[in-house]
């Protein structure tokens, strides 16, 4: 085998790995429900793994429970309810939107808004002074300040033109 192909296959191998113990259902719908459910329920022993990924004994028990309930014809909701009745919302990788989980769901949006506000202020601060003065001057002091900066701008422009006309002499 060419080394390149071997390398590619090695890189792809994590995607090929099967679930820890795959179970067979007669009904493909149940099979699919089993696979989605086990990948949405948290293993409470190794808290950052789903019960589909985990080798822990508890995860095996929970997988068995999901399988049995599916075979009894229980719906997805009934199984999720069964698990949350016993283990709380923590068992779900997708927690329901509640008062308690509000920060969890809205936190990212709040931080995004804070970030946008911060960006807005930073951009405004970085703008050259001359441009800032273009707003409508409302206070008496503003008017004068605007006039001064406009004068300064005109002077600078005149100087630049003069230098350009003279050419680079140095």
């Amino acid at each position: 085998m060419k080394p390149g192909i071997l390398m590619l296959l090695l890189l792809l191998s994590p995607f090929a790995s099967d679930a820890i113990d795959s179970r067979q259902f007669a009904n493909p719908e149940q099979q699919e429900a089993y696979e989605t459910l086990t990948s949405e329920l948290r293993c409470l022993v190794c808290q950052n793994q789903t019960i589909a990924d985990s080798n822990a004994e508890l995860a095996a028990d929970l997988r068995r429970q999901v399988q049995e309930m599916l075979e009894q014809g229980k719906s997805r909701e009934e199984i999720v309810q069964f698990m949350t009745d016993r283990y709380g919302d923590f068992v779900l990788y997708k927690p329901p939107f509640k008062l308690k989980t509000g920060l969890l769901w809205l936190g990212p949006v709040v931080f995004l808004l804070l970030g946008l506000v911060a960006v807005f202020f930073v951009i405004r601060q970085r703008q050259p002074r001359s441009q800032q003065g273009f707003g409508i001057p409302t206070l008496p002091g503003d008017k004068e300040a605007a006039a001064v900066t406009e004068n300064g701008q005109a002077e600078k422009l005149a100087k630049i033109r003069r230098l350009l006309d003279e050419g680079d002499v140095s």
């Binding site: 028990d61 949350t84 016993r86 283990y87 709380g88």
Partner: protein
């Protein structure tokens, strides 16, 4: 001024959050069973496998439900504390021998002492699942109506008995059945 204060304030806020995070115990998941009727079981007794203990048998009593196993390391640490609590005879202690080999479990009780009024067997972990057990040891306190009033995750230490369990048991014993 704000330019220098802002990073400082941000730093302090982050430090406070991180400090709170250090004190959190992510292993202690609040039990949804609290203040609900204890899950029912009918399970064979460890010492007399032909007899069954049913939740209804415990009605009208304050009882402790302690999940243990001979393979569980922290249970060994907890065991003398339970023995001492049993000596005080303040409460009925029921053991759930979770996913254990009955012979090893009996041997454990013979050598280390038996604080349990009764231990029931849960070899396939189904009772544990009903109780939301995810780590051994765990200890539940039930009132006279059979309602779960407290859950303790991890080994029960002498401090917990003095500060939490005994005051709660006294309070529950005083309640009407």
């Amino acid at each position: 001024m704000l330019k220098y204060l802002l990073p400082l304030i941000l730093f302090i806020v982050m430090a406070i959050f991180l400090a709170i995070g250090l004190g959190l115990k992510p292993n202690e998941i609040p039990s949804p069973l609290l203040n609900k009727t204890a899950p029912a079981f009918a399970a064979p007794k460890l010492q007399a496998p032909n007899e069954k203990l049913v939740t209804a048998d415990l009605k009208g009593q304050v009882w402790l439900f302690n999940v243990w196993a001979s393979w569980c390391v922290s249970c060994r640490e907890e065991h003398p504390v339970l023995n001492q609590l049993a000596q005080q005879q303040a409460v009925v202690i029921i053991g759930l021998n979770y996913k254990d080999d009955p012979a090893a479990a009996k041997n454990w009780l013979d050598t280390l002492g038996n604080p349990y009024n009764v231990s029931i067997m849960d070899q396939d972990g189904r009772i544990g699942l009903d109780w939301g057990v995810y780590g051994v040891p765990e200890t539940f306190v039930m009132d006279k109506k059979g309602i779960v009033r407290y859950k303790h995750t991890g080994p029960v230490m002498p401090d917990d008995v003095q500060n939490v369990f005994l005051p709660l048991i006294t309070q529950l014993q005083a309640e009407a059945p």
